[in-house]
Symmetry: C2
Subunit: 204 residues, 2 copies
DNA sequence: CTCAATTTTAGAATTGGTTCAATTTTTTGC
DNA sequence: GCAAAAAATTGAACCAATTCTAAAATTGAG
């Protein structure tokens, strides 16, 4: 039985993540030295590298937690969407954006995004791509739901539309985290304005 | 008069860029050590840092060359666009994409994109954002042109539409450079499919 | 309880980007 | 031309991530 060992392992994982999350927030990604994270987590530097391939993967684990929460929250909207295409999209996207800075600072997002394009084949790079895909799928699911409800035209290419909406939102979010002074409300308004064009095209 | 000094300066800039471009292509961004670039350019390491704030800025200078070429090539399409909204967009985007791997490898693009989100306030970060904006403006200009030609509805929000098209294309391009095996033809086809939805909505 | 296997640890070594103080080169006022 | 000032160059030193090594600790099977 590997009961105790597994529990200790999980515990070390948790301690490392918690220490890193705290230090990333306090000192920024670059400012949080591995030695400091190790000290805070009460493990050695070597142990951290035993659990994660590199510093980026630690951040990756934190990002995954955040995005999975967002995906869960999104479920609700897909299940019971507002009875209006524009509002439905705005509500789902709103959930994504409003949750986005819960655990992660803009600086952490910037680092995470950078690492995911820099090392697309690293564990984190692949995980990040998978998360993006899940978000795209959720938007597609919403569109399919709206089609089923008769709110969106049947002849719309749902797959392509889902990608289009996600890609635009994601790019806007990237620009948002690149500017510290950018406000969430402005971001949402800009995306609404862009989506208005699509809504006009697809609503029955 | 600052004749000699200015000439030497320009010459060293050129040598550094040429050396870096060659080594980035051969050994990849990470693989190209600053010492090697310095040796190849026949300057010292310190001199490189006198000319560029950091390694990323060297890559940035190369990216700017490439993107400016693309912008120039795009001018032609905006001036005389194909007499069909879908074809016009496809032609402009085609120019962007087909030129994109001329000087830069996918790996170089990945690094450049990563740096631009990681350090949005560095010289390169700001330059990259400006380049993105220029591309967006060019797409907007094309739409305005098509509106003037009576091919696009007058009541379309051209600014928002330009952003939407650029953001989607850019995100698709990011995913494209993240996968070494992805082909240009597939990328173009996927974007065409997405834009079809928009074209249906905006064409007169 | 004991022992072999596995994991963790501490810390030294490595690596490569970046910084810096000293030196050299270029310019400028005379 | 010639020195003093300004600018540029140099390469050694620095720093932090990552790797490596040998010793110590922990585990679980018997």
């Amino acid at each position: 039985m590997s009961g105790l060992r597994a529990r200790q392992k999980a515990d070390r994982h948790r301690r490392i993540i918690e220490a890193a999350a705290e230090l990333f927030r306090e000192a920024g990604y670059e400012g949080a030295k591995i030695e400091a994270i190790a000290a805070q987590a009460e493990v050695s530097v070597g142990t951290i590298y035993n659990y994660y391939q590199n510093k980026g993967d630690i951040l990756g684990a934190i990002v995954s937690l955040e995005v999975n929460e967002v995906l869960n929250a999104g479920q609700g909207v897909v299940a019971k969407p507002p009875a209006n295409v524009g509002d439905a999209l705005d509500t789902l996207i709103g959930i994504y954006i409003e949750h986005s800075l819960h655990y992660l600072s803009k600086e952490m997002w910037r680092q995470a995004m950078a690492i995911s394009t820099q090392l697309p084949d690293s564990p984190f790079g692949q995980a990040y791509t998978a998360l993006d895909r899940s978000l795209t799928e959720q938007i597609r699911a919403l569109i399919a739901r709206l089609q089923a409800l008769g709110l969106v035209r049947q002849d719309i290419d749902g797959a392509a539309l889902g990608e289009l909406i996600f890609n635009n939102m994601n790019m806007m979010f990237i620009e948002f985290v690149k500017r510290d002074e950018a406000r969430i409300s402005e971001l949402r308004a800009a995306i609404r304005r862009q989506n208005r064009i699509l809504v006009a095209a697809i609503a029955v």
